[in-house]
Symmetry: C2
Subunit: 257 residues, 2 copies
Amino acid sequence: MSGRLLAAALPELPEITPGDDLGHLIVEAWQALADEDPALAPAEGDVLVVTQKVVSKAEGRVVRLSEVEPRPEAVAWAREWDKDPRAVEVVMRETAEVVRMERGLIISRTHHGFVCANAGVDASNVGAEDVVTLLPEDPDRSAARLRAAIRDELGVDVRVVVSDSFGRPWRQGITDVALGVSGFAPLHDLRGAVDTDGREMQATVVAVADELASTAELASGKTSRRPVVLIRGATLPADDGTSVADMIMSREQDLFR
Amino acid sequence: MSGRLLAAALPELPEITPGDDLGHLIVEAWQALADEDPALAPAEGDVLVVTQKVVSKAEGRVVRLSEVEPRPEAVAWAREWDKDPRAVEVVMRETAEVVRMERGLIISRTHHGFVCANAGVDASNVGAEDVVTLLPEDPDRSAARLRAAIRDELGVDVRVVVSDSFGRPWRQGITDVALGVSGFAPLHDLRGAVDTDGREMQATVVAVADELASTAELASGKTSRRPVVLIRGATLPADDGTSVADMIMSREQDLFR
């Protein structure tokens, strides 16, 4: 473990539309970065953090609001809070369970088990007035597909994180977290490891996937068109078959709720 | 904004004991790093992320368990869950409000307003069998003091984060978050900024302080004696007088709770 970490945003991607070969576009951007700085050429074990928005767009997880027929509940809520009833309808469709619905905000548990604002439905940075994006249907699978595409084209095995910005309880502000991963275990289980005094560490399971997502957000910034960040130097646990889906806490496990 | 971020753990610090001049020890470690790699010499705007444990130890926020008289409630709880009643007593003293107390775990709201396991009381990596650390009394002030000490010695104005590892609801695993900051605003308020389509971003306040803490954890790893990480290249909001204390959500604001 070198204790040294580098995060570098890849150059801008073009506007992504459904059906685009995102893996190939990422490879092109990465090669452009490597042309600028050969030290950043693709290397085994590199991590690519890709924001959900471009993944959703490439996968066609977009909804044209002009084609949405809002249910009466969505119309009523939208009128009360000055929202677009069709956007509210889409949020309701993506919601498995409403955690909170007040002051114009809907906090949902999605069918993946993620708890987030508006069930992850997003209108910003979508590139067309009446289009919203949904979260990928299976973000772990999205990450695996991108990883396979990059390996096929470059012959290099990278790790992939699909990220999004989530709020949380107790503290203000959003941070980026992992929706899906491929190529490593998203939780680094240090239970049983000894600390510097030789004492066994009791309850230390580090959410490295989420820390990678936050690092990438910090490197790229929110207002940029640079949705992919290369991270090099992180010590990550080997792939053990677990994925972000396994990070979701059941109500029974969850003492923080 | 370069889109490039570097995180580098400073060399090991010696075992910290109450009264140690932590600022000076950090300066020494940083100079050792710069001797190895002159590019990492202290520079204006650099961020240092310092884990809570060494800050607490230097500030004397440690408790010798042999001097603790547990209350009957602590004795009963400790017996039920096979804990040290004196450690439970310390947790109870540091707790302003119990969020959850079950299966041997106490989730507390501390007097700072932080919600975390065991009110932040920690027995790992403390360097003596019967000693536990408490969170710093005012971590924003701890960060400000370290920043002032480094500026006095090096003539360089750095930004400081005091970090700790917290669990959270909904998702497994801990991530590092900021307990205190100095030299920048911990929340980057992008409301009113326009996204790449020229649309105003509605609800984007990024908890950059927490993202810095997570980045540092990823760079240093948990089992090391390297409690200080240098981060360079982050675009951070200017100091506006806000601190981590201002990140705490009131119950009324908190829709995620």
